[in-house]
C-alpha cells in the first residue's frame, strides 16, 4: 500500500504550542464574567450512615454564593456508568474518606475552600472493609461473579502429572495525569448548558448531566480540546466533576468552575484496581500446561463504576500468550471502602496477564527449566489456538517476534551471563526476564465499537475534521489529520482537527480501550471518502473524462493532461452546489460476545509485544536498577512511527512505575496517605532503563482491515513492563534453593524486594 501522509512521523499537531504556552487547557481559558469557583465537601469517614448535613455555616463565609447537595438535584441523582446506583451526592451512606457529599460555589477558590470547611456532616460510623481478602470472606461484590470456562477443568487438573498453585497481590495505581480533573459549566442559550470537561467520554458526561438535571441531551453540549493526560482516569470519573459544576451552574445561573487540586484529585477519584491473583495449574514434565483454575479478585473500591468491564478484560487476558487446554477463570469484584477504582490503561488486562506470567515462572522454577523455554512451549500455535473465551487466535506473531529478539538481543547469552554473575556476586544480584504481550483490541462490549466523524472542506481548500475521539497526548488528532490528508492527497497543513464536541458528533464511545485511532480514524476516512467521491464527480465532468480516470495526487486532481488544485475544485463544487461536508460512521466488523457464557469473538484482532528486561537488586536494601530493556512491538503498519514509539516508551515507563515504585498507602482509618507527588512516586527521567532499545515490528500490516492496516497502541505496551517485575522476581529467585520460587508482590518497592530476598534466603518453597 502506497501512502503519502499516513506512515510518516509528523510532529504532534500541538507540539509547537505545547512549548510556547499557547496550547490551552480548561484552566487556562479566559474566565467568563460572573464565574464561581466550586469546592467539594467530602466524607471524613471510610464508611458511615449519613444522618445529617448542615450547609448553612458554609454560606456565612464571605464570597460564598451557593451550596448544593443531593436535594438540589432536579433529575435523577445517579451517575453510574454501567449500572445505576452511584449517586452524584449520597443520601444514605458515605463509603470512603473523600466521598463527595455536597459542594460550595464562591467568588474565589479560597472562599469556596473556606466555605466547604464549615459544612457539618453528621454520620454514624459503620465498620469499613479495606482489603480484598476480607471482602472475599464476606462475599461482598459490586457486581455478580464472572466465570470463563473451557473444557473439563477439574478432570484435567486431576489428571495432570504435576500440579502447582500460587498467589500474588498486585497494588493499584493512581493515574497521575499532570492536569488534574476540571470542569467549567456555562449557561447556554435557551436554558441549555455548555460544559468544558476534562473527560475521555464527553457523550457520557452529556448524557448523565442531562439525566441529573432533567434536561434533554440536546440541551447539553460537552466540549473537549485536549486533556493533560487521561490514562483512563478521566473516563467515568470526569462525570462527577462535570456533574457538580453543572448542578451549581444550573442552581445559580452563573458559570461554575470546579478544579480539583492534586490532593483532592487523588483523594476523591478512583484508580487502577488492585488484584489478588490465585492460580492452580496442572502441567507435564516439560512445563506444558494442561489445565488452569484461576481466581482474579479485584479491589473495586466502593462502587461498581467500570469494574465489570475491567474484570471481564482481566479474565480475557489471563491466558496472555498461552494456550490452556482447559481453563476456568473466575472474576470477583470485591467491594472495599476506598476510592471507586476505574479504567486505567490496560483495563484489567495487565493484572490478568501477571497471573499468567507469574504462573509460567513458577512452573519453570519448579522444574528447574529456563522460564523462556516454558513460555515458548505454552505459546498459542496451530491446533492450540482457542482462548478460554472460545475465540480462535489468528495471526499470532509472538513466536516469530521472539525468534527475532533472541538474535538481536542475545537472549541466550545474556541469560548465562546473568546466572554466572549471580554465582559470584555477594551483594548485587541480577535478574533477567522475557515477557510477551498479546492484547485483544476492541471494547469487550461490542456496542461500544462504533464512531462518527464530520469532515468539512471549505472553498479555499482547507479541511476541518471533527470526530468523537479525545486528544490526551497520544497524538490522536495528528493521526486523524494524517488519515484525512491521505484520502484527499493534500498536505497535512491543510487539515485542521477541531475540539471534540457532542453537538458535532453525537453518542460517541469513550476514547479508551486503545480504540481512538482505530474507530475515529475509520470514521474520518469514510467521511473524507464521501466528499472525495463527490469532488471526483465534479472533476470528471469538468475534465470530460470517466470518473475512474480522476486521480487525487499531491494536492491536485488530475486526469491525463488536465489538472486542478484541491482548492479550485472545492470552489467549483460549491458553485455547482455540491456538498463539501459529510458524516462518516464506522462499526467494527466480525465481533460478538455473549456476556452470560463469556464466549464469542470480543476482539477484532490482537496486538503483540515482547520485552526483555535485565535488572540488578541490592540484597542489603532492596534497591534496584533497570540495566537494559529491549522491546519489539507490533503496531501493524504504523500510522505515525514516532508517535507510536512515544506511546510504547511512555506506556512502558508507566507500567514500570506501577509495578515497582508507585505505592498507594492508606492509614487504618482509610485515609489515603499518598495523595501528592511528595508521597506518591511516579518514575522520573533517571528511572528510564539506562540502555533502552525500542523497535517497531517491521513489515507488519494488520491482516484485519483496520485503518490503513495499523494496530492500536495505547495500552498494549504498558504490559511490556511486566518484564521488569519478572526480572526482579528472577533476581530474588537466584537466592532461593533450586526448585524454589520467588514470591514478590507488586509494587516491588525496595521493602518488598528485601522481604522477598530474606524469604528466598531462608529457603521457603
Amino acid at each position: 500500500m502506497d501512502t503519502a501522509t499516513v506512515g510518516q512521523s509528523f510532529a504532534h499537531d500541538s507540539a509547537a504550542h505545547h512549548v510556547d504556552g499557547k496550547a490551552s487547557f480548561i484552566d487556562d481559558m479566559p474566565e467568563p464574567r460572573n464565574l464561581l469557583h466550586a469546592h467539594l465537601i467530602t466524607s471524613p469517614w471510610a464508611h458511615a450512615r449519613l444522618t445529617g448535613l448542615d450547609l448553612a455555616p458554609c454560606l456565612t463565609v464571605p464570597g460564598v454564593v451557593a451550596v448544593a447537595a443531593a436535594a438540589d438535584i432536579p433529575g435523577l441523582n445517579d451517575i453510574g456508568a454501567i449500572l445505576k446506583g452511584e449517586p452524584l451526592f449520597p443520601t444514605e451512606t458515605l463509603d470512603y474518606v473523600g466521598h463527595p457529599v455536597a459542594a460550595v460555589a464562591a467568588l474565589s477558590p479560597a472562599a469556596a475552600r473556606a466555605g466547604a470547611a464549615l459544612a457539618k456532616i453528621v454520620g454514624t460510623p459503620l465498620p469499613p472493609v479495606f482489603d480484598i481478602r476480607t471482602a472475599l470472606e464476606r462475599e461482598d461484590y459490586v457486581c455478580p461473579p464472572m466465570t470463563m470456562l473451557r473444557g473439563d477443568v477439574d478432570k484435567a487438573l486431576a489428571a495432570a502429572p504435576l500440579r502447582l498453585s500460587g498467589e500474588t497481590e498486585i497494588g493499584g495505581q493512581d493515574h497521575f495525569y499532570l492536569e488534574t480533573h476540571i470542569a467549567l459549566a456555562l449557561p447556554a442559550d435557551g436554558g441549555g448548558l455548555h460544559i468544558f470537561s476534562s473527560t475521555q467520554h464527553p457523550s457520557e458526561v452529556q448524557h448523565l448531566v442531562a439525566r441529573l438535571l432533567g434536561m434533554p441531551q440536546s440541551a447539553v453540549t460537552v466540549e473537549v480540546r485536549r486533556l493533560g493526560g487521561g490514562f483512563g482516569g478521566k473516563e467515568s470519573q470526569a462525570t462527577l466533576i462535570a456533574g457538580v459544576a453543572a448542578l451549581l451552574c444550573r442552581k445559580t445561573g452563573r458559570p461554575v468552575k470546579l478544579r480539583l487540586d492534586r490532593d483532592d484529585d487523588m483523594t476523591v477519584t478512583g484508580k487502577r484496581h488492585s488484584f489478588l491473583l490465585r492460580w492452580d495449574v496442572g502441567f507435564d514434565k516439560d512445563g506444558r500446561v494442561e489445565a488452569v483454575d484461576m481466581l482474579l479478585a479485584a479491589g473495586s473500591g466502593w462502587s461498581t463504576d467500570l469494574t465489570p468491564g475491567v474484570v471481564s478484560r482481566a479474565l480475557s487476558h489471563a491466558d496472555n500468550a498461552y494456550f490452556y487446554p482447559a481453563a476456568r477463570i473466575r472474576g470477583l469484584s470485591c467491594r472495599t471502602n476506598h476510592q471507586s477504582n476505574t479504567a486505567f490503561r490496560g483495563f484489567g488486562a495487565p493484572q490478568g496477564m501477571i497471573a499468567a506470567e507469574a504462573m509460567m515462572d513458577d512452573i519453570a522454577h519448579h522444574l528447574r527449566l529456563d522460564p523462556l523455554a516454558v513460555r515458548k512451549i505454552n505459546f498459542y500455535g496451530p491446533g492450540r489456538d482457542i482462548t478460554p473465551y472460545h475465540q480462535t487466535v489468528e495471526h499470532f506473531r509472538l513466536p516469530a517476534m521472539l525468534a527475532e529478539m533472541e538474535e538481536k538481543a542475545d537472549l541466550a547469552k545474556r541469560r548465562v551471563a546473568v546466572d554466572s554473575f549471580n554465582a559470584g556476586s555477594p551483594i548485587i544480584k541480577k535478574g533477567f526476564a522475557v515477557a510477551p504481550v498479546k492484547f485483544g483490541v476492541s471494547f469487550n462490549n461490542p456496542a461500544m465499537n462504533q464512531a462518527g466523524a464530520l469532515v468539512m472542506a471549505y472553498t479555499d481548500g482547507s479541511v476541518l475534521v471533527n470526530h468523537g475521539g479525545i486528544e490526551m497526548g497520544q497524538g490522536l488528532y495528528t493521526k486523524i489529520a494524517q488519515v484525512t490528508a491521505e484520502v484527499f492527497e493534500i498536505p497535512l497543513n491543510q487539515i485542521r482537527v477541531s475540539s471534540t464536541r457532542t453537538d458535532k458528533v453525537p453518542n460517541t464511545s469513550p476514547t479508551a480501550a486503545s480504540s481512538g485511532a482505530d474507530l475515529n480514524g475509520m470514521a474520518a476516512q469514510q467521511a473524507a471518502e464521501i466528499i472525495r467521491g463527490r469532488m471526483a464527480e465534479v472533476a470528471a465532468r469538468k475534465f470530460g473524462v470517466p470518473l475512474e480516470d480522476v486521480q487525487f495526487k499531491n494536492g491536485e486532481i488530475r486526469s491525463g493532461n488536465y489538472h486542478i488544485s484541491f482548492a479550485e475544485l472545492a470552489e467549483l463544487c460549491h458553485l455547482q452546489r455540491v456538498s463539501l461536508s459529510a458524516n462518516g460512521f464506522y462499526r467494527t466488523p466480525k465481533i460478538h460476545f455473549d456476556k452470560e457464557t463469556m464466549t464469542g469473538r470480543p476482539f477484532f484482532y490482537f496486538a503483540h509485544g515482547l520485552a526483555a528486561a535485565e535488572v540488578a537488586i541490592d540484597t542489603l536494601t532492596g534497591e534496584w536498577k533497570c540495566l537494559r530493556v529491549d522491546i519489539l512491538h507490533d503496531v501493524g503498519r504504523s500510522l505515525n512511527p514516532a508517535i507510536d514509539r512515544g506511546q510504547i516508551e511512555g506506556a512502558f515507563l508507566q507500567g514500570l512505575g506501577w509495578l515497582t515504585m508507585e505505592e498507594l498507602v492508606w492509614d487504618k482509618d482509610g485515609r489515603l496517605l499518598t495523595h501528592a507527588p511528595s508521597t506518591y512516586k511516579i518514575p522520573t527521567a533517571r528511572d528510564l532503563p539506562a540502555d533502552f532499545r525500542v523497535e517497531l515490528l517491521a513489515n507488519a500490516d494488520n491482516p484485519e482491515a483496520s485503518v490503513y492496516r495499523s494496530k492500536a497502541v495505547g495500552e498494549p505496551p504498558l504490559m511490556l513492563a511486566v518484564s521488569v517485575w519478572l526480572a526482579l522476581r528472577d533476581a530474588v529467585a537466584s537466592m532461593a534453593p533450586p526448585g524454589a520460587r520467588a514470591t514478590l508482590d507488586a509494587p516491588a518497592t525496595p521493602e518488598r524486594i528485601l522481604a522477598a530476598v530474606e524469604a528466598a534466603r531462608s529457603g521457603v518453597r
Binding site: 512521523s9 510532529a11 504532534h12 500541538s14 507540539a15 509547537a16 504550542h17 505545547h18 512549548v19 510556547d20 504556552g21 490551552s24 487556562d28 479560597a110 475552600r113 499532570l178 492536569e179 488534574t180 486533556l227 493533560g228 493526560g229 490514562f231 492534586r262 554473575f421 559470584g424 556476586s425 555477594p426 551483594i427 548485587i428 490526551m472 497526548g473 497520544q474 497524538g475 540488578a616 541490592d618 542489603l620 536494601t621 532492596g622 534497591e623 536498577k625 508517535i643 512515544g646 516508551e649 511512555g650 508507566q654 505505592e663 499518598t674 501528592a676 511528595s678 518514575p683 522520573t684 527521567a685 533517571r686 528511572d687 528510564l688 525500542v694 525496595p750 521493602e751 528485601l754 530474606e758
Partner: protein, 476 residues
C-alpha cells in the same frame, strides 16, 4: 527601605505593590496571563510550574529553574523571570529549546512541557558534563506520557546557550532598584527582607511568631497545602552574612541561606560523597532554593543533610542578639521537629570541616525512588582505619528515630576492633539500641531497622572490597 516588589517578567520591568505577600508566583503569573505556567501539585514535586529565575550577576543574569508554586511573590524582588511565553529565538522564531522539544517528540499531552522547556533552558546555560547532569536537571519535572526518552535526547543535543547581551542591562536595573531592604505589606500581611543580620535579628526579636523564610521549599507548603496565612514573614535571602560561603582553608563556613545548588558547586571536589548525597536532596528546582538553614530549622526526623553533617563533625553557628554561639550538629535538633534555636535566634551558618587525610566518608540514602524522594533511611559514616582496625568512626542515621541520631553505641562497639566481617555482628546489635524507628507510608519499622543494619554491612563491603564484584548499584 522599599515597599514595592521590583521584578522583570519576560523582559518587561514590573513593579508590584498590592498583591498579598503569601501569594505564590505561580498564581500571580497565571492571573497575569502567563498560562504556560501550570499547577500540577502545588508542592514543588512535579515541575509543571517551573520558570527560570534570573539572578543578577556581575555581567548578566544567572538563569535557574525554580518551582513557582513555592515562590512567595516577594521572592521575585530583584530577580527576573522567564516563562515559556517569553522564550524567543532569533527573528521571533521559536527558541532553540522550544524547537528541539517540538521537533523531537518531547511533548505528548503538553501539560508538563512548558516546565520541561524552562528546565532545559536553564540547563542550556550551565555545564552539562554527562547524562548524570541531565538527569539531575530533569529529576524535578514529571512527565506521565513520554517516558522521558525524547526529552533526554533533546537535552543531550542542546546547544550551549550564550547569555543574551541585553540581560546585563536588566541585571543592572534590578540591582539598582532592589538594593535596599524590602518591607512589603499587602492585604494585612507583611514581608520583610532585610539586608543585614542585625536588622534581621532585631525583627526576629520583635516578631517571634514571624515565619522565617530562606528558600521556601518547605515553608511554602504551609500555604499551598495547609492553607495557612503568615501575618509576618522574615526573609533571610538577602542577608549577606547568611548567603555566602567562606573558605577557611581546612573548613568551609556555609551561610544558612545559601541554596544547595551553590553549596554543590563548592563542595563537589572537596566532599564528593556529600555532594552525591546533596544531589539527591529534592531536585534541581528545590536545590536552587532550598538551604541548610531551612533543612535544619524544620528539624524533620529524616533531615536530608543532618546525618551527614553529624558524621562529618560539622557545627552550627547560631546568631543571637548578643552574638554568635556554636553547637555541634548532633545537638542542634533536640526532638521531633524541635531545635535548640531560641525565639530570638537565627541559624547563621554550617561550619563544615574538610575530611582529614586518611579518613573516608560515605553517605547512603535509601528511598522508593532515586530522585526527589524523602529517605526511608539515610546513613552517614566517617571512618578512619589504622592497621586494619577501626581507629575512629562517626555514624549518624536519619529516618530511624524522632530526629536524626548519632549512633553512639554502634561507634563504641566498633572502636578499636579489627575491621572484619566478624566485628560487624556485635556492632549491628549495638546499633539496634541506637535507633527507634516507626512505621509510616515510606516503610515499616522492621524494614528501617534491617536497612540501617545492612548499611553498616555495605560500608564494610565498600571499604574492604572482598570480591571483584560491585557492591553497590551505582557501580553498575
Amino acid at each position: 527601605m522599599r515597599n514595592t516588589i521590583t521584578t522583570n517578567i519576560n523582559g518587561r520591568d514590573v513593579t508590584i505593590s498590592d498583591v498579598p505577600p503569601d501569594q505564590m508566583a505561580l498564581a500571580w503569573l497565571r492571573a497575569e496571563g502567563f498560562i504556560s505556567v501550570k499547577e500540577g501539585c502545588g508542592e514543588g514535586d512535579c515541575g509543571a510550574c517551573t520558570v527560570a529565575l534570573g539572578v543578577p550577576t556581575a555581567d548578566g543574569l544567572d538563569w535557574r529553574a525554580v518551582a513557582s508554586c513555592l515562590l512567595f511573590l516577594p521572592m521575585l524582588d530583584g530577580r527576573a523571570v522567564l516563562t515559556a511565553e517569553g522564550l524567543k529565538g532569533p527573528n521571533g522564531n521559536p527558541h532553540p529549546v522550544q524547537q528541539a522539544m517540538a521537533d523531537g517528540f518531547g511533548t505528548q499531552c503538553g501539560f508538563c512541557s512548558p516546565g520541561f522547556t524552562m528546565s532545559l533552558f536553564a540547563l542550556a546555560h550551565h555545564d552539562r558534563l554527562d547524562d548524570q547532569a541531565i538527569y539531575d536537571s530533569l529529576a524535578g519535572n514529571l512527565c506521565r506520557c513520554t517516558g522521558y526518552r525524547p526529552i533526554i535526547e533533546v537535552a543531550r543535543a542542546l546547544p550551549n546557550l550564550a547569555a543574551d547581551p541585553g540581560e546585563a542591562a536588566v541585571a543592572e536595573r534590578l540591582r539598582a532598584a532592589a538594593g535596599a531592604a524590602l518591607f512589603y505589606c499587602a492585604d494585612g500581611l507583611s514581608f520583610f527582607a532585610p539586608t543585614d543580620l542585625r536588622e534581621a535579628l532585631a525583627y526576629r526579636s520583635a516578631h517571634p511568631d514571624a515565619w522565617i523564610l530562606a528558600g521556601g521549599t518547605d515553608l511554602g507548603l504551609a500555604v499551598t497545602k495547609r492553607h495557612q496565612r503568615p501575618e509576618v514573614m522574615l526573609s533571610l535571602a538577602r542577608v549577606p552574612e547568611l548567603t555566602r560561603i567562606t573558605d577557611n582553608h581546612g573548613s568551609l563556613t556555609i551561610g544558612a541561606a545559601v541554596p544547595y545548588a551553590e553549596i554543590l558547586s563548592v563542595i563537589s571536589t572537596r566532599h564528593p560523597e556529600l555532594a552525591k548525597l546533596l544531589r539527591r536532596v529534592g531536585a534541581t528546582q528545590v536545590r536552587n532554593q532550598g538551604t541548610f538553614g531551612g533543612n535544619l530549622g524544620n528539624a524533620s526526623p529524616i533531615g536530608d543533610s543532618l546525618p551527614a553533617l553529624i558524621a562529618l563533625g560539622a557545627t552550627i553557628d547560631i546568631a543571637a542578639p548578643d552574638g554568635l554561639r556554636t553547637v555541634a550538629a548532633q545537638d542542634f535538633v533536640t526532638g521531633y521537629r524541635k531545635t535548640q534555636l531560641a525565639a530570638d535566634e537565627l541559624i547563621a551558618a554550617v561550619h563544615l570541616p574538610d575530611l582529614p587525610p586518611g579518613e573516608l566518608f560515605r553517605a547512603y540514602k535509601v528511598a522508593k525512588r532515586v530522585d526527589q524522594d524523602i529517605s526511608t533511611v539515610s546513613a552517614s559514616f566517617r571512618l578512619r582505619l589504622e592497621n586494619g582496625k577501626v581507629a575512629a568512626i562517626a555514624a549518624a542515621f536519619g529516618g530511624v528515630a524522632a530526629r536524626p541520631v548519632r549512633a553512639h553505641r554502634l561507634e563504641a562497639a566498633l572502636q578499636g576492633l579489627p575491621w572484619t566481617a566478624a566485628s560487624l555482628a556485635g556492632a549491628q546489635a549495638a546499633l539496634a539500641e541506637d535507633i527507634a524507628p516507626q512505621d509510616d507510608l515510606r516503610g515499616t519499622a522492621g524494614y528501617r531497622r534491617k536497612v540501617a543494619t545492612n548499611l553498616v554491612t555495605r560500608l564494610w563491603h565498600e571499604t574492604t572490597n572482598p570480591t571483584e564484584f560491585p557492591v553497590s548499584l551505582d557501580r553498575l
